[in-house]
């Protein structure tokens, strides 16, 4: 791809003795759409704030175009941020919000004082940017008169009008409703491609990450779990955490007998993975949509349907295999109590080394939709509490 723009070398951060970032290494290319993905408290916002200059890492280096910028304050960095709750200036109207950065003048090489930007140019650039974010005609509105989506666009315009090399976005769609969020996703992608600048995007929403990113960085507990394209991350998760966080996964204990042969549920399956030690215990990932349901007599495994939920495109079917419950997504309806068989093709099976996350995820015994949603809300609340401090 293109050239490298930002690099974090061995960065660590702690608040009140609590490790938030644990020796992170990361590079970001020019004009790349990179997403930092992970649950609350994983360190993604901290990483973003380090790049923005609002935090200085306790250890490690931040390089921009190969130059160390650890000690450069935010107002001197060629980086702009779209904040979580927009942080628009309520005392200014839309135009003045967008023009805010321009009115401060531009840096001239070799000079300490900033040069004033002529009013005409400011006007031109602001109007141009309002057009990019489809807010033409709103320039005299007050911020409080705008909807959430419109405020979001103002925040983006306010950041982009300064022509930063990198735009940082901190969960920018978190406060929008689902429909608006989907619209803004494609809008953001379009803007990024149109402006050809680097976006570093923070979210805990894996769908958003998969839909928009060139590169996804999955983080948990202050460490990077995996870096890759959306396809890599989805198809080849590095460990149980990634497998579970990105999409739905059934994760089973297995043993690698030799290259391309794995055993689980006391049965050997062919797979496409190699390079494991003989008889190494592994985690086996099977995506719910990859499982083919067949009549019980022709299946490799047999199980009983314990619950069915209609999801529109497919049914979420929970099947009990010898006490281990799988989630299977299928377009065919199988009623509760029905016995079914399944067939796994070698490319449906993905093998991972054992990790600290083994055994924590991938069992759908307690599966219920409500549970997941409650979990998300709780996480959001936690995050707000953390930010207040």
């Amino acid at each position: 791809m293109s050239k490298e723009l930002i690099r974090l070398v061995n960065c660590s951060m702690a608040f009140d003795g609590e490790q938030v970032l644990d020796h992170i290494d990361l590079y970001i290319n020019d004009s790349e759409f990179l997403t930092l993905l992970g649950p609350s408290g994983c360190g993604k916002t901290t990483t973003l704030r380090i790049i923005g200059g609002f935090l200085t890492p306790l250890e490690g280096e931040v390089l921009f175009d190969g130059v160390r910028i650890n000690d450069i304050p935010p107002h001197l960095r060629q980086v702009n941020t779209v904040f979580q709750r927009y942080a628009l200036f309520p005392h200014l109207n839309v135009f003045e919000n967008v023009a805010f950065g321009l009115r401060l003048g531009r840096k001239v090489e070799g000079q300490k004082k900033k040069e004033r930007i002529p009013e005409e140019e400011i006007r031109e650039r602001v109007m141009e940017m309002l057009e990019v974010v489809s807010l033409k005609g709103f320039e005299n509105r007050r911020i409080t008169e705008l909807s959430g989506g419109q405020q979001q666009r103002v925040a983006i315009a306010r950041a982009l009008v300064n022509r930063p090399k990198v735009l940082l976005l901190d969960e920018p769609l978190g406060a929008l409703d689902l429909r608006l969020r989907k619209d803004m996703q494609s809008e953001l992608k379009r803007i990024q491609q149109q402006m050809e600048i680097t976006f570093i995007y923070v979210t805990h929403d894996q769908e958003e990450a998969l839909a928009m990113s060139d590169t996804i960085v999955v983080m948990d507990q202050g460490r990077i779990q995996q870096i890759g394209t959306p396809e890599d991350i989805y198809n080849e998760p590095k460990n149980a955490f990634v497998a579970d966080f990105i999409g739905e996964s059934n994760i089973l204990d297995g043993v690698m007998h030799e290259d391309f042969v794995v055993e689980f549920f006391n049965r050997k399956f062919k797979c496409l993975d190699k390079g494991f030690a003989p008889m190494e215990p592994v985690d086996v990932v099977i995506r719910p949509e990859d499982v083919d349901i067949v009549p019980p007599e022709s299946g490799q495994l047999r199980g009983t349907v314990t619950s069915v939920t209609f999801k529109g495109v497919h049914y979420d079917t929970i099947v009990d295999f010898k006490g281990f419950k799988w989630l299977i997504q299928t377009t065919d309806f199988h009623d509760v109590g029905e016995t079914i068989g399944i067939v796994l093709n070698p490319d449906d099976i993905h093998i991972m080394h054992k990790s600290q996350y083994s055994g924590l995820f991938g069992d759908y015994s307690s599966y219920s939709e409500e549970y997941d949603e409650i979990g998300d809300v709780a996480k959001l609340d936690e995050e707000e509490g953390a930010q207040d401090e």
Binding site: G52, F89, R141, R142, E389
Partner: protein
Amino acid sequence: MKRQERLGSRLLIGLVFLFLYAPIVFLIVFSFNAGDSSAVWRGFSLHWYAELFQNRLIMESVYTTLLVSILATIISTIAGTFAAIGLYSLGRRKRDALLAVNNIPMMNADIVTGVSLCLFFVAFFQGWGGFAKWFNGVQSLVELPTRLHLGFTTMLLAHIAFNIPYVILNVAPKLRQMDRNLIDAAQDLGCTWMQAFWKVVVPEIKPGIVSGALIAFTMSIDDFVISYFTAGSSTSTLAMTIYGMTKRRITPEINAVSTLLFLSVLVLLLANNIREARLERRRELGAAPRRRPVPALLQNKWFHRGAAAVAACALAAVILFLHDATASRPVVNVCSWGEYIDTDLIDQFEEETGIRVNYQTVDSNETLYSLLKSGGADYDVIVPSDYMIALLIAEDMLEPLDYQKIPNFAKIGDRFKYLSYDPDNLYTVPYTWGTLGIIYNTAMVEKEIASWRDIYSDDYAGQVLLINNSRDALGEALLCLGYSVNTTDEGEIRAAYELLADATRRGVFQGKVMDEVFQTMEGGNAAIATYYAGDYLTMLENNEDLAFVIPEEGSNWFVDAMCVLKDAPHYEEAHQWIDFMASTEASLANMDFIWYASPNEEALAAYPAYYEELYEEPLDQELYEIMATPPEVLERCEVYEYLPPETRTLYNDLWIKLGI
């Protein structure tokens, strides 16, 4: 039934409001009284407002009040805003704890704040005195003042101190409401920390800053108690001046100044409320897009800087001017009683000599004494009464005068010199003199009163006002019994007390009064009182039925004399002032104004002619003799002498025992 209930509750509300506002309405109405009583209506007039603006005591204190309020508001608003920002950046627990600490001074009693600040300043001055002496001793480059006084600066510091919590209280919630990310966002867009503060934080918390400043200003203007304790003796705010005036006699001038004070505080409060209501409405409407177009000139950066510079220069000039007016010109600090001078004389003196007169008042000899004792006073000239002068001389608190510098002393009548309180006449130049006598309402008392006995008789039970001053009250009783007012014989004094106690038991006295005597007697609410001749003449203007008599047993006559305090900083100027006030011209004008007789014989002789020329009618000889008691009557009267401590204690004990 329901209708009645509603009527009842309306009536109740009406009564509550009547209770709340009747006194203020009364005050405002009487500020327009043509006469000089606050009880008798003599028609509408703006006279007292005109008078007010010519009263230099009041105008000076308005000046002081405004200056201290404006300066304290500016400084405390800046300090409080930054303090609030500092608090905001702390953790929640620390912040809450500090905010609680911040609230305590606001709830603290003013008197405690005032006294503690006063004690603190005095303690600091003592420490400073030691330091300055040592510092001046070890080097000679800079000369530090060794004696510091309570004054404008200490009062300003006190005002700043009590205003800051109010500013913090108003700014802190605005900061808490502010999105923390705003500062990050501003910095992210290229602001330095300072730019972010001015461009984002200040506009966001501006409503809090403005209302904080308005409240601080109101509190400052409003304050009396804290100022009273920290202003020292030579600085006086409007509230303090009003207080001083009421001690003497409530004239409609006080009504007028109180009315104006009430209105200005009302306007401030209304402005603040309207502003807040408007902000609230705008917030509710989702912010109406009401943006006034700003002229290009006003947006220009250089215009802003120029305007700021001009404003700063103007403020500096005003402060310098005031400082100049107060400091660099020669000054004389005078302390006297309220309404005891024709203030035109002050202007005249200043014009003639170029010396600024800092004229302050206290309410009684005893207050003056305690002020002097506490070391809080820095007066040059004081005008105590005879017995107090004796005490001050005894305690070596007066400086001998240089009579060479007071040529007008020669015009003072011999009968006012070498009196018992200053037998060698080394310390004093008499200022006024007068007598104590019986004032009675001829509409209520049929016979002519001629003896002290009459004020203790059952004939007027419940109609007699006893003077609220142990020396005068017991003195009258002593005279009634044929003893001297200066007796130290315990038996005689106890006998006098018995006379009073007996009359009290019989319900003769309506109450003990000092200044209330004016309103009560003018309004015809009591038949008999004992008071000073000069004040009788004032009462007579409002009630023609009043008569004055010096009883046949004799009475007390008093002299108030000008003295200079030991170590007075302006000894020369003090002499110039004393000489000026003793002159015939000044004595005439003063006599005409305060209606107390002057000891200047030339002035005494010239007054009837002076009066006739001024008012184009002859002076009533009878009234003149009440003011300037003829020598044959004066012979019957005694001057109070300084009583030995044990006698004073006896007076005190008996006075407390008497009760009423």
